[in-house]
């Protein structure tokens, strides 16, 4: 598909930002998103090309605005819901539950 992922030759991005002594991951959520993606891939419910196609289906503006592991996370959730492992409603509910717990924890 002619999505935002097909970047070769596009103009206007500016310089390549490099980070000296860059860590492998920049945050705990990146570590977990990476590992969950690999672990769920091992079930064999989808293949690598399906994973790529899932990430490519991110809305082009959003693809360009977000970071690499956010692309992975988008693809992971799309596959999890398309293949029936989880529903969007239960993901949203669990997010609210975790947010409430975190909030309660920080107030105590």
């Amino acid at each position: 598909m002619n999505g935002a992922h097909d970047l070769g030759g596009m103009h206007g991005f500016g310089p390549i930002n490099r980070e000296p002594d860059e860590p492998v991951f920049h945050a705990e959520w990146e570590r977990r998103a990476f590992a969950i993606t690999l672990a769920m891939g091992a079930h064999g419910a989808w293949n690598l090309d399906m994973s790529r196609y899932a990430r490519e289906r991110m809305e082009p503006g959003e693809y360009l605005r977000t970071s690499y592991y956010e692309h992975w996370l988008f693809g992971l959730q799309l596959l999890l819901t398309e293949k029936g492992f989880l529903s969007e409603a239960e993901i949203e509910q669990r997010m609210r539950d975790i947010a409430d717990e975190t909030n309660a924890g920080s107030e105590s």
Binding site: M1, N2, G8, H43, N47, Y53, E56
Partner: protein
């Protein structure tokens, strides 16, 4: 397939999962042959970057037979020959390209036509 357990992680990563297939297929193109990349714009998954579509390159090497990704993304396992195709900077980018730079792109046989 079963849940990936911690004790199986190292072996699973070491083993990997090659997309190369043992199956032999006749080669439609030979090294050194000029080929033109198809100008196709499928709505679903493909591995032809837009910047080579419609352009002419030279087959640099025959990489062997692999799972064809466009079909694989739909769950179909189709074998197809893969080639590394060389494009000059000027072919790809016109007056803004450079003749002393070349881009090598791995392209499946069905993406290519003889030129």
């Amino acid at each position: 397939m079963p849940v990936l357990k911690a004790e199986n992680v190292a072996a699973a990563l070491r083993e990997g999962s090659t997309a190369r297939l043992a199956q032999d297929l006749p080669a439609r193109f030979v090294c050194g042959q000029r080929v033109r990349v198809a100008n196709i714009n499928p709505q679903d998954h493909t591995r032809i970057p837009r910047y080579v579509r419609g352009h002419v390159g030279v087959v640099d090497s025959d990489q062997g037979v692999f799972i064809f990704p466009d079909a694989h993304a739909r769950g179909e396992k189709v074998a197809q020959r893969l080639y590394s195709v060389r494009f000059t900077g000027t072919e790809l980018w016109g007056p803004q390209g450079k003749a002393d730079t070349a881009v090598y792109v791995d392209l499946f046989e069905s993406y290519l036509a003889p030129q």
